[in-house]
Symmetry: C2
Subunit: 511 residues, 2 copies
């Protein structure tokens, strides 16, 4: 990649030396949508409340519905009070809300962009935002082409003298490799890669960021981080929720596209990548792309099944009866969309030869959890075999959510006059250890985009390589509708998934 | 070693399968001394209270002073109420005390042993102890030869048909190699090595026993337990106490003999030994002896000083002024006895080539602590150099006392929008994890001796190899009285000790 490297790299600078970004304007396309209300505005408010926002940040909501600034602000205030991670302070909200504006336009109406441009030019002069503009694509993905085209035609994609123009793309980045390529092409026509920020909010989570620190700042971990010492890795993302009113979108997407292609492959990359040459955004992303390129393709008709897809049937979650997926609103009664995926991924490189990575993701599972569990090889069975209690192998668990932290399962002698070995846990909790809550992922990512730091965003080739891998899995499925397994809501998924591990002599980790 | 291997090996059996030892009698020489009152009787009482003693255990105190069984029991009751780790239950004490007897005799009076023999024979018939006899040498070391000789001459060293006769030796096992050899010779004339139990109460502590489990039941530790991954090891034993009325004994011994020759070299052996072929007492002790044989001799006039000996001067501990060592009762005003030792030990074998082990032990230091700190090598300074917070290397700390447990220091990202790396600790506490207090070391060791398990006791060759190493250190000192350094009571020892580590670019770990 030879795209321009951003200059402000927080990996190079401590908290004290990191400066608050310069004043800028943030234009949100899809300003009346759920993402804006639940995530973006609460994140921006919290950044302001914590003193992390530039002295002047103008937020312009761009959407179709006619609405006054006042009505827009009132709407966002209600949302922020509901979704903010900290209580909303009236005075701080007042000051914050004064910087929020509404711009009414259809996404495909060039005039709306021209008037936005005029509005931004006026602001630049009056408010000191100086032509620094961050365009946030929070609208539906079908609107992206139209928005990108109009940004280009209105000239908004070009920053005024001394400013910058950046775009944040929300997932999905396409729905397969061809659509992702087309989206990358469209985005590339409007913005250079270095100004294109593809957001993956998993990468904004503290523990995801901590994976690299854990690995490369601790000799005990990196020294064992290879096929000689590691037996296998399990990456889990589970939630008790169903489709929750997103049925229309979800049924066209499914778990593989919605979660695996982006979030879980990103976690896999962070776990498996080689040490980068430095901590610049492109060096890190170069290494992640190398992992994606090393993934052994999962092709239709492989000798052994390495993928299981499931769909929840009716069942009970936390004791409450819930309907099956096909009974949910907006879901066709014969839908073959997967709400669960389990797959064995092999990384064909020197470090990981023979070490399977198992990914498991699903809706209507018993618990809400995202974690990476690194299972180390067992000790040779030469000293403690036959000891009561038995010997479990060591497992390092990186908990992404909830209760971010790290734990290490090890074997210890139980107190008492005879030898009884029990598994115990050394534990580290982010919250209690640092005495403060982690900021929300969106806070970090918005600030990074304002600073021009792309480290935690996906590069175009990452996205495309991930799709290349995922598309082959899908192609196998499309040819074989019979492959869908059903599991009762509230269970840990279809039984067929156990077989994936059983043939390695393994079981899924209990969470 | 071809001494007979005991059959009951608790390392082979779980708690549930470990049987309570058979009935026996325990004869304590030096029954009115401090060790009996503070440790042995409280330990035996606690074993009884927890149901771990055989159905019949007769305890016979052997000492010079004339005393009735009743007076002896009353005396022990007072001591047990003071020193027991759990409150004394009146009913349990009654039952326990009924099994305690007093036998009055000089240690060098053969008649006293003959009458003891008759008493034991009568008991064997009446009480079912069946000729199983455990002799505990809790008298002063100068009495050992006389007691051993009389045991032999009275025939008490030979078990009656179907029974056994074992001896427990308390430290000091001699005061140098020649005296240790002489003691081993005397003990060997009376008892075979397999029936000779040299007690080192550090080995009875749960965490000391856990060192082997940690190392050999956890692939993540043993895989890194070598010169490739470990930078150095620090073994610390510190206490705020002074000589506490033991001045007469202590001044003839000193820290090197009193603590390093036994306790600290044992901890070093457990930390450094190769995996034994099995968990039998002799296999384990074979490996410990190999470590002692690999210790690089510390000879007088070596090119660099690797030993620092210190003596506390007056100072303050926990804010309270305390006198210097030479001002303590029974200490000559020009005593050159060391109350502090720091030494660099090198183990010349493949595993530990180039990894120094630093031992530090002292009285009148600020804290009470015994720990083994394994310092792993630093990560290569290629990614996170210059990051604020800095990078500490990983340290695995095995806490022997107080608060037994294990912790691992690692580097983690501090929550926040920039990269700040802080050391954090993963921690495991014995007490809270298993929800019960560890039994006292003497409980475990007494039970092991009754069961004939010598795993946690020192073998004759271990003791002699340790003395060989220690004697060379002492010889250097005796030739150079000027080498004694003074440190204020309440400090962490003489400044000269810092230089031992400084030349490796290291510092002593802060506790």
């Amino acid at each position: 990649m030879n795209s321009k490297e951003p200059t402000a790299n927080p990996f190079r600078e401590g908290l004290s030396s990191r400066t608050v970004p310069e004043p800028c304007s943030v234009i949100i396309f899809g300003a009346t949508g759920d993402l804006t209300r639940r995530k973006l505005i609460p994140a921006l408010y919290n950044l302001a409340a914590d003193g992390n926002l530039p002295s002047s940040v103008k937020i312009i909501g761009f959407a179709r519905r006619s609405k006054s600034d006042g009505a827009f602000r009132a709407d966002l205030e209600e949302a922020t009070r509901q979704f903010s991670r900290q209580p909303v302070d009236d005075a701080v909200w007042e000051t914050f809300a004064d910087q929020v504006f509404y711009h009414c336009s259809e996404f495909d109406d060039l005039e709306g962009y021209r008037s936005l441009s005029a509005k931004l030019d006026a602001m630049d002069k009056k408010e000191g935002t100086c032509g620094r503009r961050l365009f946030y694509m929070a609208a539906g993905p079908d609107q992206f082409p139209s928005i990108l085209k109009n940004l280009r035609e209105s000239g908004l994609n070009k920053a005024p003298e001394g400013g910058w123009a950046r775009v944040i793309l929300e997932k999905p980045f396409g729905k397969d490799l061809p659509t992702a390529r087309e989206l990358n092409r469209l985005a590339g026509e409007a913005f250079p890669e270095a100004d294109t920020f593809r957001i993956d909010h998993y990468l904004g989570k503290e523990t995801a960021q901590n994976i690299m620190v854990l690995r490369f700042a601790n000799s005990i971990f990196e020294g064992m981080w290879n096929a000689r010492c590691i037996d296998h890795v399990q990456i889990l993302s589970s939630e008790p929720l169903g489709v929750e009113g997103r049925g229309g979108y979800y049924d066209k997407s499914g778990a593989l596209r919605d979660m695996v292609q982006n979030h879980l492959l990103q976690l896999l990359c962070l776990t498996a990548m080689e040490p980068p040459t430095d901590l610049s955004a492109n060096s890190i992303r170069d290494e992640k792309v190398k992992v994606l390129r090393s993934l052994r393709p999962i092709r239709r008709g492989g000798s052994l099944p390495v993928v299981v897809r499931g769909q929840y049937a009716e069942g009970a979650v936390h004791g409450k009866p819930v309907p099956g997926y096909r009974q949910e609103a907006d879901i066709p009664p014969d839908s073959a969309t997967e709400t669960y995926v389990a797959l064995e991924v092999n990384i064909d490189n020197w470090r990981w030869a023979g070490v399977p990575f198992f990914i498991r993701i699903g809706k209507r599972l018993p618990k809400f959890a995202t974690e990476i569990a690194v299972h180390f090889k067992a000790v040779p069975p030469v000293l403690f075999q036959g000891i009561s209690g038995g010997l479990d192998h060591n497992v390092l668990v990186i908990r992404i959510q909830p209760d971010e932290g790290v734990s290490l399962r090890m074997s210890a002698k139980m107190p008492g006059s005879s030898l009884r070995i029990e598994p115990v846990k050394m534990d580290f909790h982010y919250g209690t250890s640092f005495g403060k809550a982690s900021p929300e992922a969106y806070e970090r990512l918005l600030l990074d985009a304002m600073s021009g730091d792309a480290t935690l965003f996906a590069r175009c080739d990452e996205v495309e390589e991930a799709w290349r891998f995922i598309d082959e899995v899908r192609e196998g499925w499309d040819a074989d509708d019979a492959g869908l397994c059903f599991y009762p809501a509230g269970s840990w998924g279809p039984e067929e998934a156990d077989a994936l591990l059983a043939r390695h002599g393994l079981t899924w980790r209990r969470v």
